[in-house]
């Protein structure tokens, strides 16, 4: 299995190539520089293993939730490469990728992920993490920190910048054993989630490599058209 993965959904920007069980990754914290960095990163990881796009089996990308523009950059690059190289695409949840990354790092299986969604809200998901999978428990949501929920009885660990911005409210809602706020979704984890056989049923044609925003109320009707 040879797979290219990319993520530009948060302040982090990363690309990874997965080849026969090994991930090689370029990763950088680079707010607002994703467009400039992502193709050079992709080029670098593929050059490292000597692969051309047409030799890949699929492209995976962090499909959101996250910054709207960032998620669209990843979707657009994935669409373009996959269309040109005639490859399927694996749209992967950024929340699940972050859960997997932190779960693997600390060896913990119950992860509560919160990304800062601005406007006083978080992107929220709770996961059961194993070595190569992050199973969503419940559903992904965008909501006020005071409205987050989690399945009962877990031994939870927090992950993501939402835990920094809304620390007090979130830990009141869901007591956690600990928390890693300074972690972001990474392409290597996007790749790990994409290659598991169960996930392959969800690979799509490039036309359907689309963002998942969660927040769909994006128009301030009073402001629209008044310029």
């Amino acid at each position: 299995m040879k797979l290219l993965a990319l993520d530009t959904s948060t302040d982090a920007c990363s690309a990874a190539v997965w080849m026969d069980g090994v991930a090689r990754e370029r990763y950088e914290l680079a707010p607002r520089r994703h467009a400039a960095l992502i193709l050079p990163m992709i080029e670098a990881v593929l050059a490292e293993v000597g692969l051309r796009p047409t030799q890949l089996d699929a492209i995976a990308f962090g499909r959101g939730p996250g910054a709207f523009t960032g998620v669209r950059i990843a979707a657009g690059i994935a669409q373009g490469i996959a269309f040109a190289a005639d490859l399927p695409v694996a749209p992967i949840s950024t929340l699940a990728a972050l859960a997997l990354g932190v779960g693997r790092e600390i060896g913990h299986s119950r992860l509560a992920v919160a990304l800062d969604a601005r406007m006083g809200e978080v992107y929220w998901g709770t996961y059961a993490v194993t070595a190569d999978a992050a199973e969503l428990l419940g559903e992904e949501r965008v909501c006020a920190p005071a409205a987050v929920t989690a399945p009962a009885g877990g031994d939870w660990f927090g992950a993501g910048g939402g835990w920094r911005v809304h620390a007090a409210v979130l830990s009141r809602q869901l007591p956690v054993r600990g928390c890693l706020e300074e972690r972001y979704p990474r392409a290597a984890d996007v790749a790990r989630l994409a290659v598991v056989p169960r996930q392959r049923a969800d690979w799509v044609s490039p036309d359907w490599a689309l963002p998942v925003y969660l927040r769909n109320e994006v128009v301030d009707k009073r402001a629209a058209g008044s310029r």
């Binding site: 960095l37 193709l39 709207f68 669209r72 690059i77 490469i81 996959a82 963002p211």
Partner: protein
């Protein structure tokens, strides 16, 4: 050389295949007008969301219509700016991704360069040099064009663009979004003698435009009237006459100042029937000729981006893999093509 052109700078998703030997092979456009109509103006986030859904299906469609396989594409041109940053990024990301995986060069094209070169896609294209009047919802420009990338701005709007003034005035007259074309249709029934609005900035030298005050004059007149269909049509007529007159006066000045006798008119307002008539008369009087793109290429489209991109790619210009879009980008800062 077969070039794929991609336009996503505002609320139209446009794609086209242009071949330097065979001409335009196919083009397709998805307009978001209905998406934004409910809000009375373009909502940038909704525009971006629509571009990323529509672009690849449109690309499949033009490849099929052109009978071309993807591996025949030899270069990709996409709109780098000016425009809405999120919308530009969608076209840039997909275009750059395609070009990179096809291993062909890519170039970011200036949207207004696309417009002013659009008449080159017609059977009788203008020769350089010429004067170009670019009038759309986002821009009002008079440019002296000595060649590709050789642009001197002769005048531009100091406030509203011409098309913007049309749309805003139409909205205040209660016409549905986007009101510009509807206002022009309504003006056909108006009495040209009833009202006379000022011709802004024609009483001083130069080729700059100002349409904001004209919009205000129309609204103030309309507010003092019974809101009858006839009154509305008369105001629309007086407004359109003032815009057309003003544009014609500035075009005359630009042609006289440059001693050129070829005028290219592009952009959405270039589809206005009365403006076309008026400028045809002007160039007949001056012993010159006026050039238009076909009506569907007056508004945003992928064909003009493919053509402008080809001119630059053929001259050896291309972008590296670091994607950069430019929401603001002065037309006269572009490199020349020899």
């Amino acid at each position: 050389m077969l070039i794929l052109g991609i336009e996503t700078s505002c609320d139209e998703t446009g794609v086209a295949l242009y071949d330097s030997e065979r001409g335009l092979l196919a083009h397709a456009l998805h307009s978001q007008v209905r998406l934004h109509a409910e809000y009375g103006g373009v909502v940038p986030e909704l525009a971006s969301r629509d571009h990323v859904r529509k672009l690849l299906p449109l690309l499949r469609e033009i490849l099929r219509r052109a009978g071309a396989t993807p591996d025949a594409v030899e270069g990709v041109a996409y709109t780098r700016g000016p425009g809405l940053i999120g919308a530009l990024l969608v076209g840039a990301a997909i275009g750059r991704g395609l070009a990179w995986a096809w291993n062909v060069p890519a170039i970011g094209v200036h949207h207004m360069e696309g417009h002013l070169l659009a008449p080159m896609l017609e059977l009788e294209p203008p020769e350089f040099p010429f004067v170009a009047l670019l009038v759309s919802g986002g821009h009002s420009l008079l440019v002296e064009v000595d060649g590709v990338g050789r642009y001197r701005i002769l005048g531009e709007s100091v406030d509203d663009a011409a098309g913007e003034a049309f749309d805003k005035t139409a909205k205040l007259l209660g016409l549905p979004y986007p009101g510009g074309p509807a206002l022009a249709r309504l003006a056909e029934q108006g009495d040209p003698q009833r009202f006379r609005f000022p011709r802004p900035m024609t009483d001083r030298p130069g080729c700059d435009f100002s349409f904001s005050g004209l919009k205000t004059a129309a609204i103030n007149t309309w507010r003092g009237l019974e809101p009858t269909p006839a009154n509305r049509a008369d105001v629309a007529r007086a407004f359109e006459d003032a815009v057309v007159d003003t544009l014609a006066i500035k075009c005359r000045r630009a042609l006289q100042a440059t001693r050129l006798r070829r005028l290219v008119v592009a952009g959405g307002v270039g589809a206005n029937r009365r403006l076309r008539e008026r400028l045809r008369e002007l160039l007949a009087e001056l012993g010159g000729h006026v050039y238009y793109p076909r009506l569907e290429f007056c508004t945003d489209n992928g064909a003009m981006i493919a053509y402008a991109g080809w001119r630059r790619l053929a001259a050896g210009q291309y972008d590296d893999t670091a994607i950069e879009v430019l929401p603001r980008w002065p037309l006269d800062s572009l490199p020349a093509v020899n």
